[in-house]
Symmetry: C2
Subunit: 588 residues, 2 copies
Amino acid sequence: MLTSLSSLFVRTLRDDPADAEVPSHRWLVRAGYIRRAAPGIYSWLPLGLKVLQKVETIVREEMDAIGAQEVRFPALLPREPYEETGRWTEYGETLFRLQDRKGADMLLGPTHEEMFTLMVKDLYSSYKDLPLSLYQIQTKYRDEARPRAGLLRGREFVMKDSYSFDVDDAGLEASYQAHRDAYRRIFTRLGLDFVIVSAMAGAMGGSRSEEFLAVADNGEDTFVRSPGGYAANVEAVRFAPPPALPVEDAPAMELVDTPDAGTIAAVVDILNRDLPARTWTGADTLKNVLFKVTDPDGSTRPLAVGLPGDREVDLKRLAAALEPAVADVFGPEDFAKYPQLVVGFISPVSLDGTRVLGKESATKIEYLVDPRVVTGTHWATGANEKDRHLVGVTAGRDFDADGVLDVAEVREGDPAPDGSGPLSLARGIEMGHIFQLGRKYAEALGLKVLDSNGKLVTVTMGSYGVGVSRAVAAIAEETSDDKGLCWPLPLAPYQVQLVATGKDSAVFEEAARIGQELSASGLDVLLDDRKASPGVKFADAEIMGMPLIVVVGRGLANGVVEFRDRRSGDRREVAVGDIVSEVLAATR
Amino acid sequence: MLTSLSSLFVRTLRDDPADAEVPSHRWLVRAGYIRRAAPGIYSWLPLGLKVLQKVETIVREEMDAIGAQEVRFPALLPREPYEETGRWTEYGETLFRLQDRKGADMLLGPTHEEMFTLMVKDLYSSYKDLPLSLYQIQTKYRDEARPRAGLLRGREFVMKDSYSFDVDDAGLEASYQAHRDAYRRIFTRLGLDFVIVSAMAGAMGGSRSEEFLAVADNGEDTFVRSPGGYAANVEAVRFAPPPALPVEDAPAMELVDTPDAGTIAAVVDILNRDLPARTWTGADTLKNVLFKVTDPDGSTRPLAVGLPGDREVDLKRLAAALEPAVADVFGPEDFAKYPQLVVGFISPVSLDGTRVLGKESATKIEYLVDPRVVTGTHWATGANEKDRHLVGVTAGRDFDADGVLDVAEVREGDPAPDGSGPLSLARGIEMGHIFQLGRKYAEALGLKVLDSNGKLVTVTMGSYGVGVSRAVAAIAEETSDDKGLCWPLPLAPYQVQLVATGKDSAVFEEAARIGQELSASGLDVLLDDRKASPGVKFADAEIMGMPLIVVVGRGLANGVVEFRDRRSGDRREVAVGDIVSEVLAATR
């Protein structure tokens, strides 16, 4: 295909869009690939759509290769199936809801587990029909609280979602593995530097779950890796609790005056001064943080989280752990309801032994603690009195938590939960997510088949997603440089940008001839035949990011053209008679 | 491609779906091509999606061939652009509206004139950038009052919509003609029996407009044709008014008693009995029908329509003429407000000369008349008194209409407006619609470019649509028979259904071998390798509708297979060694 830039619907922009936070967003807009239509909602211009379609083709080929069958569900869906699984409510404000002219509740599909489950229930009834994998490449909707970074977190986006259906756990494991392998091939073909990490199942429900993250400094996800091969989204890290200690060895509780000690550091300083028999650090203190939790039905409840004082609550880990409920800060009006709680000096227990946190305590506030807070560990913590702390407060003796909540920040160098060495942290963009859903949806919607003994069994499912439009941005994020976009050959809208410079009509004719020859050889060529200065044309070629650039200009009089590599910036003169074969060689 | 029917996600149904009114709907559901997700909203199963994708490919190829450039806009759109053109309101209940989590008004795009106009305004500024044609193949939403007939009138559907941008009228004419030619090629390649008819512009605004209708008994549109080449959607027919007559030649008004004359026929009988000097027919009477019209802003107003008594108001013609306003019947509570109007005896004038209909009359009710009611024509009509009629009521003397409204039913044999002979009526499915929008949207949204003299001029636009998902149904409507679907070769999901019968494994192996050979030759083959009776397999092959059927069964022992043509039902024995070449010959 040979396209004239003078007729292509594109304009490059000299300035960054005001809302561009990341390179992919900046360059995709500036190079004329996409335009914003509303917050988190984008239109695709011809160049952008070509990249999107190439990503779609790669995804489709790899899904077909594992025997998944393509279908297409509506985006506008009835409420009922989502009501039956609880997601109509659980999705909260992220779900776009609307009513039709008859007042029927509808939604814009954020993901389609319910619809696929019902469709398989409609068509299939026997174990002989399984295993089955279905997929679609389709537009999805999520009303993100903070759409950002262009295509990276949008409210309307293209996803490939697939679903597997098996009669037993071994079948699910095989379907999951087939998808995992297909995803490795997809992200490899897309040229992404990616990692596979353990993940939270999130609002999907289910058990085993992994994410494919494109490694990127601007990624929204933080993940950890160990030298021994542990890899997890930071939200999914679960620390193994240390062994419990004997309670009877613990020291007695003791009151310490801590006037004006407004920080953990100040408390630690006082302890080291007044109780110098040992060295105190923030890790010896127990910090108790209160949250107001809103459940999907709109009701609220208080939650206290206890964790070592040298760590903060990681709000993303907290959000993931509580989903679909949402945590907010505990404000003055909330504290006002609990006179037992003295801000800055909160403790699960008072000096007289009164329990203050926990469902069975005076406040009845649910109390969940970090996995490090095991029975027999003793802590310095508040005394529920102003300017006073307690030391020797012992878990399992002086207080009891209602459960464990692993939401403390994870730090570079923390030990991997599986003992495979110290963790390092990095950031990534979630490109794919695979889940073993199990029987949650099949049970809720009654998807059963007859097994080989003629007995009805509930089908077990997997759910697998690829962010197709997001992939365009992730690839741009990884491959763009300070001059603009820079596509890998298999994804570029055109492999070659052919730039004719000057005003000599012989140059333009020769450029067109070369373009036709390259096009006839199967390449997609963008011919810059505009009446513009060489400087403008070179800058646009760099912004637009076709991997190979051929410049036909003054050198033509000497029988040469210039062949440039967009990524390396290498440029060399090539005899005009050789340029077609040189370009073809570079594309192989 | 070779697919095993035993693993294909499909089930045929023995019974018609309860809501199936037309063959395409019945067979697409029964053959397992689509399933209903909500009223007017369908999911595509693998077989259906393949047909849809083939239609998409044909449309894409023909749009690319006229130099239109593919883009893709969001379906979820902000309110503002549609507010600026008035369509946020004009679309009425047909528009799906919703609010996002911040309370911003949004809509699901029913068509994208506004968004394309704004995009071109964003990128282009000079006449040198034009002409430009852009298109998208995209999912659209309309909250139809009565979704029906499966894919034929859905609420979520796939459309190809394109838009042309020109600096002057000649450019628009050329862009329009290019689309018109492309549409002829598209519908020819789709194998549809289609007509091009003049159309109403409808909610789009604009001037010249034509529809491409697939001729179909079950079509929602009625169109007329004349021997001389006139063709129009019945909604767009505009009768040329006869010449006005001299008012002074008209007879005087005269009162006639018409007791119990509840119908036009009864009135005519009385007139022929009591005034036998001439022969009276229904066409000599003037019928006055009242409607309550609701404008898009929700306000209502009365409207009286006067037309010859032998014709009914065609409610679809009326709806099209009033759009975006909507007409309802005038109920007893409405008549109660106008004591001057006596139901059954309504007239624009009373015997004493009081004007009763018309903006200047006693009732102030707008009065619009059929084009046949020209000045000087005289009529028998009501007397605004019970059991009394007037004759000799003369237009332009005894009453004046506020305007003309051409909404009477059009009848077989009516003269074509252009004098090209008597009209015949037929029905069709609207497959494409092309509009010369002109400057309506460009003016509303400020799309101007500099012309060759450096002067700002408003761009003139065209808008062009193809119902892509509807085409799947229209083709099924035209090609299905009493046994099931029956696809033309270029659109069939598989060209060949290869049926292995019996239990002999040699038969199944040979069928698989033939399938592989056909697949290697580039054909798409569906191999029925199920453990099912020959009867079930043959019936399914007929319902599913692949054009060529090869049966491998008992004849294999004698070295023959059976080759069937799905459409004609022809079947013949072919030597097994020849079947591949025979099938290939049949697909050329």
